[in-house]
């Protein structure tokens, strides 16, 4: 499909209706074994993230250790899906994680603003992949998008995708800067059209970050493309998903929009830093019947 056909297919979005649908997901009451299953699933979908100017190699090493050893006392725990870092930290993260199954994801392409020459952004992407990044989280040029230059946005994604080689490409739309749900839908359609493996809501540096409304619109874009072309694309809400309750609501939304096929870390991720410990606390509560102090959960 051409870009113009993709854009012509981009449907209108009624934000009132979207909010109502979201409210309905939030009335689902997840209890007992379905709750336990959801908690573990959510844990396995986390991209454990540290994206700060003050990050050091030691900090990244500690995070990688945490990624592999979530809790000493709990049996049958999954690991998180990936550790998400800046390109400079890819090497050390990859050393720590080796080939344990936890992937290394790097934010590239002049994260978080994307305000740089495309050639530099591509060089950064290639460098991160060369250092061992298995996943690349790129940002789109929101300014260009808002100016209506959809071709530019398409081309930059295509170019970064090519630079990724074998690495999976997550395309960050930074929905907090797109303002309307129709823009979110349009940007999702463009990203999927241009070859994204995942579409992702936010960098975490702009408010609002992930919301259920935005995520629903993106999931619906993924679903429509799947049903019309057979192409399977993953989804990553990032930023603001800080506790189990919210995470489970996202899973409900995911299940009722895309079905069980997407309930896997291969196709759904949470970009989050504090979510893991809350999930662990809830898992302990589910199995022991009592809440433990947060002091029993390590903060890295």
């Amino acid at each position: 499909m051409s870009l113009s056909a993709t854009l012509a297919n981009s449907p209108p979005i009624d934000s009132v209706g979207v909010a109502e649908r979201v409210a309905r997901f939030c009335t689902r009451s997840i209890k007992k074994s379905s709750k336990m299953e959801a908690l573990k699933l959510a844990l396995s979908m986390i991209d454990l993230t540290t994206l700060e100017g003050k990050d050091t190699e030691d900090k990244v090493r500690r995070l990688c250790y945490k990624a592999r050893h979530l809790h000493v006392d709990l049996p049958d725990l999954p690991t998180v899906a990936a550790v998400c870092v800046y390109p400079t930290m890819v090497k050390v993260a990859r050393e720590e994680l080796n080939d344990c199954g936890v992937k290394v994801a790097a934010v590239a392409t002049s994260f978080p603003s994307g305000q740089d020459d495309l050639s530099l952004r591509i060089r950064q992407t290639k460098g991160a992949v060369r250092h061992g990044a298995q996943e690349i989280d790129m940002v789109i040029s929101r300014g260009r998008f808002l100016a209506g230059d959809y071709q530019y946005v398409t081309d930059e994604i295509v170019a970064v995708k090519e630079a990724c080689g074998e690495a999976h490409l997550k395309v960050i739309l930074e929905t907090g800067e797109l303002y309307t749900l129709e823009n979110v839908r349009k940007a999702s359609d463009i990203a999927i059209h241009a070859g994204a493996d995942f579409i992702k809501t936010s960098t975490g540096k702009v408010q609002p970050a992930a919301t259920m409304e935005v995520t629903l619109v993106m999931l619906e874009a993924i679903r429509d493309h799947f049903q019309e072309t057979g192409k399977i694309v993953g989804m990553k809400p990032a930023g603001g998903i800080s506790n189990s309750k919210i995470a489970i609501r996202y899973l409900v939304m995911l299940r009722e929009t895309l079905g069980n096929r997407w309930l896997t870390p291969k196709l759904f991720r949470f970009g989050a830093s504090s979510l893991a410990n809350d999930l662990l606390m809830q898992i302990v509560k589910q199995s022991s019947g009592v809440y433990q102090s947060s002091n029993y959960f390590s903060i890295d």
């Binding site: 449907p11 979005i13 209706g17 649908r21 009335t27 997840i30 379905s34 072309t229 299940r255 096929r261």
Partner: protein, 496 residues
Amino acid sequence: MAKKHSNKLDFDTGWHYDPAPESPELAKLKDSYDLFIDGKFVKPTSGKYFDTTSPSSQKILAKVAEADKRDVAKAVTAARKAYEGTWSRLRPSERGKYLFRIARVIQERSRELAVTESLDGGKPIRESRDIDLPLVAAHFFYHAGWADKLSYAFPGRKVGPLGVAGQIIPWNFPLLMAAWKIAPALATGNTVVIKPAETTPLTSLKLAEILQEVDLPPGVVNILTGAGSTGECIVRHPDVDKIAFTGSTEVGKLIRKTLAGTDKRLTLELGGKAANIVFEDAALDQAVEGIVNGIFFNQGHVCCAGSRLLVQESISEKLVRKLKDRMETLVVGDPLDKNTDIGAINSKEQLKKIQGYLKVGQREGAEIFQTSCPLPKRGNWCPPTLFLNASQSHRISQEEIFGPVLAIQTFRTVDEAIEKANNTPFGLSGGVWTDKGAKAFHVSERIKAGVVWNNTFNKFDPASPFGGYKESGFGREGGRHGLEAYLNISETGGNR
């Protein structure tokens, strides 16, 4: 166009929601309920009681008194006495205070009332908790505010109450319909004799307890349980000034015949066969949500349900696919489970009627689609159902089914959509889905129905008048318009 793949979404396997039921104990039911006359619970003159059962578990919930002609006479006498002696003489602001009090106690006891409603009527607790009960309280609050402002509602005219109002309500929104009837009647200074439906009397009887709790003067509201014959006695009683009925068109016609030649005032809110019109430029995923709310809300036991879907041909395939996917996620089952989307069909008779239409639809040649959701063994259940390729002359497109059954037709032009939407003896509601404002207004103005929703469906508010065209009845409930049904409005003043 892209090549069409048959890429099905999987909603059957994997992660499911465990049951999360409310406890039936929360309903705090008594074994037996008497009639509520003159502020007291009294035994029926005949000594007869009938069982009210749960449409889901089939268990008997309580015994309920059956009122006959003699009980109706007692109730009307009590209502007349209360009207002459206290209620019509009370300062309007005092009437308002009683209504405020009722509203607040309803809020306090809303969980108990919601559980009772779901137990007795079969609707999912999500709806009774999140829709019915908040609206019940809202109706009392809203009309409490009107009680001392009636002259502002009709500037330059004199208003006064009618007297004793006889009210008969259906089983689909038992407590909400009681609120729709009682709140405006009391706010305007009338007194009430009301009969809840035979299959769903319990929340009305709990309302009687609440009326006692707030010290409403005796006789202002009398609640008589019973079947159709009890209702008939109310309609025929010579000392009733006004009849308000919500229910089937068939019974509505009978009532109107009975009242011909009398000076009783009448409002009727009857059946419907509303069309939800979806244009190709609509926000489709949100339209799907509206269609689902339109027809599967309260198992389709909704007089204003969007039971016909008119979809523009260019998007019909896509829309139906989305609709089917959405339906696969609907949970049918225990009304008390917080995850239930579609509860039990209210009665065996109603289930039989719906099943009859399922046969009729297939015989007429429409293509049936039902979801694969497992149904409980005991109880009255009907999975959400679509009839594809329905035609305007099919009975399933013309007659009110009052169940979770949607007849889908396509159209090509705006005019065709309007014509099909209006080509029905009913005219209660309608839905228009388009992203284009001009089209929304153009079509909405031409749909002959009491309420037309644009890009939404089944939204209710006490400030918004509700009622029908044609065989859907006459008179409005809610809003300023709804007050008229309970008032004498004249240049010279009413009864007082």
